[in-house]
Symmetry: C2
């Protein structure tokens, strides 16, 4: 196998797939990236058996073939090479590669391509297409509420539920819930409901771009999900189990409503949190007469208080909750103003963009 590739494109490709490289040392070959020289392009593949990333890049292929090379060494070498063409010649018998670029010459040892796990080909299942930045926003808004508690694996990811033209993503860690709905231009027949793992959500946010004209193709089978974005394919296992019925958690009736500038509330919450950190992040909100007061106390450090003028409806209320949960929600909402809906001191509060009904973020109160 022999090919010539630009240093920049080679590095970008390696960085794209490298995130799927296994950090565990169970199977040495999984620390590598499969490099396959096809007719007119180079295919790079990495997987930790849970998620697999494939990336296609332009290259001048001189001889076809495939070899696995150690991902971290290879990308640190390519990163330091001058921005010139890189010539890679692999000896498939000795499983080694010679990398020549300008006056630099590297020989690195690899693994036989035959031992590398093959990413499954998804030939069936549900297919749909979504605008890239929209799907990125949906994932960002939902990812925040996923759980990392390994005793409840079905919460270590986000629900993706598609019914006809309606797509819902939801997540919860039992103390908070994020729920986003969008209408698809081209829906699917029937319904599909799967749970996408946290790590895959993280990779998606990293890979998805902001180009409104670019879309992502999604293909879903019973136990795998595939995302195709331009020259990149991500294949992930799905989380087994049933996502809990979260509908009852979303409060139906609220009495007190406030509208407030999102950034101002976020900054106030950030400051009050400085004192709350060592007290399980508990802050107290007192809402009365068009004023919201956020407070936190720590007997050792001291006390913090923030005052905000808000547009208010309904009776006054006093409620305590985790300030980090509030800040996470405020960070992923894109509107200038947000609405907070309260049902009482011991009822979950709802945070949502003003005048929009497609995103709901629910935070459980803390008894204080």
């Amino acid at each position: 196998m022999k090919f010539i590739v630009s240093q920049k494109e080679f590095l970008e490709g390696l960085q794209t797939v490298q995130r799927a490289v296994s950090n565990k040392n169970t199977l040495p070959i999984l620390s590598g990236v499969l490099i396959k020289a096809e007719d007119t392009q180079l295919k790079l593949v990495a997987t930790d058996l849970e998620i697999g990333i494939e990336c296609y890049i332009n290259a001048k292929i001189i001889t076809k073939g495939e070899l696995v090379l150690p991902a971290s060494h290879l990308s640190s070498i390519v990163r330091e090479l001058p921005s010139m063409d890189v010539e890679v010649s692999c000896n498939l018998e000795t499983k080694s590669a010679e990398i020549i670029c300008g006056n630099s010459r590297f020989n690195i040892n690899g693994f036989p391509a035959d031992d590398f796990p093959i990413l499954p080909k998804l030939e069936e299942g549900v297919q749909l297409t979504i605008c890239q930045p929209l799907f990125k926003e949906v994932i960002e808004q939902v990812k925040i509420a996923t759980s990392t508690d390994e005793t409840q694996p079905f919460l270590n990811g986000a629900l993706l539920k598609i019914t006809g033209n309606e797509l819902i993503m939801a997540s919860t860690n039992s103390y908070r819930l994020a729920h986003r709905m969008i209408q698809l231009e081209n829906g699917i027949d029937g319904q599909v409901e799967v749970i996408i793992p946290n790590k895959t959500l993280d990779e998606m946010v990293r890979i998805l771009g902001d180009d409104e004209d670019s879309s992502i193709r999604i293909q879903i089978t019973d136990n795998q999900i595939l995302f195709e974005i331009e020259n990149i394919i991500i294949i992930s296992r799905l989380i087994e189990g049933r996502f809990p019925n979260y509908e009852p958690v979303i409060p139906k009736n609220s009495n007190t409503f406030i509208r407030v500038n999102r950034k101002e509330l976020l900054q106030a919450a950030k400051r009050v949190s400085l004192i709350a950190i060592s007290n399980s992040n508990i802050i107290k909100a007192t809402i009365d007469n068009g004023v919201t007061i956020l407070e936190s106390t720590n007997s050792e450090i001291g006390h913090a208080q923030e005052k905000l003028l808000v547009n208010m409806e309904g009776p006054g209320i006093e409620i305590s909750f985790n300030s980090v949960y509030l800040m996470d929600g405020l960070k992923v909402i894109n509107s200038d103003e947000v609405k907070l809906c309260f049902g009482g001191k011991l009822s979950p509060l709802i945070l949502k963009p003003v005048d929009e009904t497609n995103y709901i973020y629910v935070i459980s109160p803390i008894r204080s």
Copy 2:
């Protein structure tokens, strides 16, 4: 005590002194910063008893006084405050401070100022003045070769030796040596020779600016050194003991000389180092016929080779050394071209700026 200060200046001052705050939890008050409201300005002081930093900032003083406040909490609060005037009122009886800024109000607990260690007043000793960016360059060039081996405390810093108008700084970890000389505009009577600790060198590099018109005042006594830069004073203990006689280490006779572009050599060394990392950073240089070849080998990973065209004098040579040592030296030299002087396979090599004699960096070879 009560004062009004701009959020920006307060934060800058806190960040300046905070680096002297003790990380060890031996004496709780050393985690604090002393705030003293004087006639027309605010004095901030922090110390870990080895190094002390004082900083003066403008403030409107309403009532004079002094109090110690927890440094990390205070600066994290001030960092998050809006860029407005901050009003600080301290209750010297309860040892607490109220911080008001816009709609934010913090109460934090502190320590009595009386318990805070007093930084010594240096009223005697040698005094001199040096251009700020020049002194910064001197420290950066010498700092790299200091030792962190605690069994040889007199190497955990840099020698500062002033004789008349000549200032020398030098450091060594026994495997490499850095030596810089400058001529002072106004020298001193006689001679002074002290060892400045590593941590102090680090702080100096951080605080020293690049303004050619600005200078630093230095005052040296037997066991303390003081640096005064505009509104900042740094007082550091000196390392006790005698700095070794390093003169014999500097090779007097070299046979082989090369001149090479500094950046090209640095980039080549960086790439070859990628393979050398897991082999104690050993790289081999083969110099012959106007070509320098850098190489490193690791039986598991592979092999790296870099070729450089150099301007060469004298016989060919093959020598092995620590690539990190070479890179460190190349990073702190400011000339476009560097000169390397070799005395043989087992003799230290000298790295220096081309056509300059005031900086010498010596690297011991490794037997291979």
